[in-house]
């Protein structure tokens, strides 16, 4: 399968004023690497507030003006410039946003879904397609004339997912699509992503919900302190977690209630607490001396898996 989206060594930083006019470069994402193929769901799993959403914004070229983006983002093998992103966004790649706040509060749902049209014919065409997709997602014709504040949580979620499919995309980026929803709606939402996958659409699921990730994803990228530290297969999250590679992923798996509820000490280093060596150094129980000073690279360990740990590097 061809790679649909490749994100290579992406870092995002913000210029921050500390004391007076002193500036510092606050790195929120230090090294993010991942790839998605057609018909694949890749989850990026990271804690809340770790800057995961910035990845989505970086792909769409909608980062705030004071953000600094480095690294490569490739779509279908072609590196994307800001202009390219503006060209393909909303067509080849679409965003499923977090919440109803991403819908214009003063616009009717169908108008938001249809988006800007240059002509009346275009509007009519899109309106028909919008109705079809809404129908498919169990959204009644009344919903078309509602305003965002009138939607229930589940309806809002279905509307957000439907807006994504109106464009007939190759890749869907879903930014935290599950929090605040009841179990049934979560299930329903995740099923929508499975359907997309079946249609050959690649899905990048950005989430902090490990259950959601395990439920639908083919592979899971673990995001820790601004780094992707491991990209594991879904099947590896089973048994005793013996197939998981990185010590953090292992302990994350063991921390689940079903797998022992073991919690490790310490916390993720915050943005700006950048350490020289491995970001997991302080909490790791199998660290080497070199981990303190050197930062491991994300290496391919075959079978579509990657890990950032010296333990798995050749010669160790």
């Amino acid at each position: 399968m061809d790679n649909l989206l490749e994100v290579e060594n992406v870092s995002i930083s913000f210029i921050q004023y500390t004391k007076g006019l002193n500036q510092r470069d606050l790195k929120v994402i230090t090294d993010l690497t991942l790839d998605i193929s057609e018909g694949e769901i890749l989850a990026v799993l990271g804690s809340s507030g770790s800057g995961k959403s910035l990845l989505a914004h970086a792909i769409f070229g909608i980062l705030p003006g004071n953000a600094n983006l480095n690294g490569k983002i490739k779509f279908k093998g072609k590196e994307l410039s800001q202009e390219d992103k503006e060209e393909i966004r909303g067509k080849n790649i679409v965003l499923v946003p977090q919440s109803v706040n991403f819908l214009d509060p003063l616009m009717k749902i169908s108008d938001i879904a249809i988006g800007h049209c240059d002509s009346e014919e275009e509007r009519k065409e899109k309106k028909i397609r919008q109705r079809e997709i809404f129908e498919h997602y169990n959204l009644d014709p009344e919903v078309d004339d509602m305003y965002p504040f009138q939607l229930s949580g589940g309806m809002a979620r279905r509307v957000l997912v439907s807006t994504a499919l109106l464009a007939d995309p190759d890749l869907v980026v879903a930014d935290e699509p599950t929090p605040g929803l009841d179990e049934k709606t979560v299930e329903e939402t995740l099923n929508h992503f499975k359907h997309m996958k079946d249609q050959g659409i690649g899905v990048l699921l950005i989430t902090h919900d490990i259950h959601a990730a395990l439920e639908v994803a083919d592979r899971i990228g673990i995001f820790y302190s601004g780094y992707v530290i491991e990209i594991a297969l879904k099947e590896d999250f089973s048994g005793d977690g013996e197939n998981l590679l990185h010590p953090y992923t292992k302990s994350l798996f063991k921390a689940l209630p079903a797998n022992g509820f073991e919690v490790i000490k310490g916390h993720q280093p915050l943005h700006g607490e950048i350490i020289k060596g491995c970001p997991y150094y302080d909490r790791c129980d199998m660290k080497f001396d070199r981990c303190k000073e050197e930062r491991p690279e994300l290496v391919d360990v075959g079978n579509n898996k990657k890990v950032r740990c010296f333990k798995y590097e050749e010669g160790e």
Binding site: I62, D104, L106, M107, G115, H116
Partner: protein
Amino acid sequence: MNKQKVAKYFGWKLIRFIVLMVAVAIFSFVLLDLSPIDPVNAYLHGTAVSEAQRAILEQYFGTNTPMTEKIFHWLMDLIRGDLGTSLIFRRPVIDVIIEKFTVSFVLMAISWIVSGVLGFALGVVAGKNKGTWIDKAVKVYCYAIQSAPSFWVGMLILMVFSVYLGWFPIGFGVPIGVRSTDATFMEWAVRLVLPTLTLSLVGLAPIAMYTRNELTQVLSSDYVLFAKSRGEKGWDLVKDHGIRNILLPAITLQFLSFSELFGGAVLVEQVFSYPGIGQTAVAAGLQNDVPLFLGIVIISAIFVFVGNLLADISYYFIDPRIKENEFND
């Protein structure tokens, strides 16, 4: 939304209006009564009279009646629509106000519309191009004009366009020596240009600054981010998502500016000797014409109240969220 709710809504507004009017009527009356203005002296204009004649006049104006009784009379007359007789014009106050207000109304209405439309447009252009030279130019203009008193701006405009360039007459509502009823439309319109220009230029600053800030906020909102992610951009984006979301606060602000409009008209009419309600208010104040002055206070209170009411009503037509909730008030 049903009729009953609307009726209830306007019922409440009406009660508030009555309470406000009574309060304004009483307070302004008490303040003027406590002021050193003596109606008899004001009436006499310094004419020498005998003690006996003065006593008759005091009797006539009721200077020695207790204040509570005076207030009561004032309110009773007010309810009957009798605002008294102007000392300057020797005509019923209500007639004077209607005549002068009509003259000012044209001035204020045009300025209101021009400042609203122009201010909004400038704000949108500046907000869309935040940080560019256009934005900076708009900002500098707005800060400068907001810091400058409107009568001073009026004087500058008068100097430039009337004195140096000579494009417009220096002032008055109609040419000197012509009765206002005999003046042609052009003679009248040409004298309206400079006062309107002044009021508009002054009035557009707050609305432009406000619109600019609102738009930059909307443009960094989540829903604009989402719209961008769907490929919308440029003016279409501003048109589809920006304008609608900033129009409501802008309209509100513009209706709320009725008070500043009235205050501005007072100063500008004075500068341009434009015979409107503003100039009349100044004359009434300076010449101790208490009935006329009180009448203008009442009318201006109504004027500002109507502005606020219109702002409230405009919400209903623009914001769907309020359509559902507001009339539950």
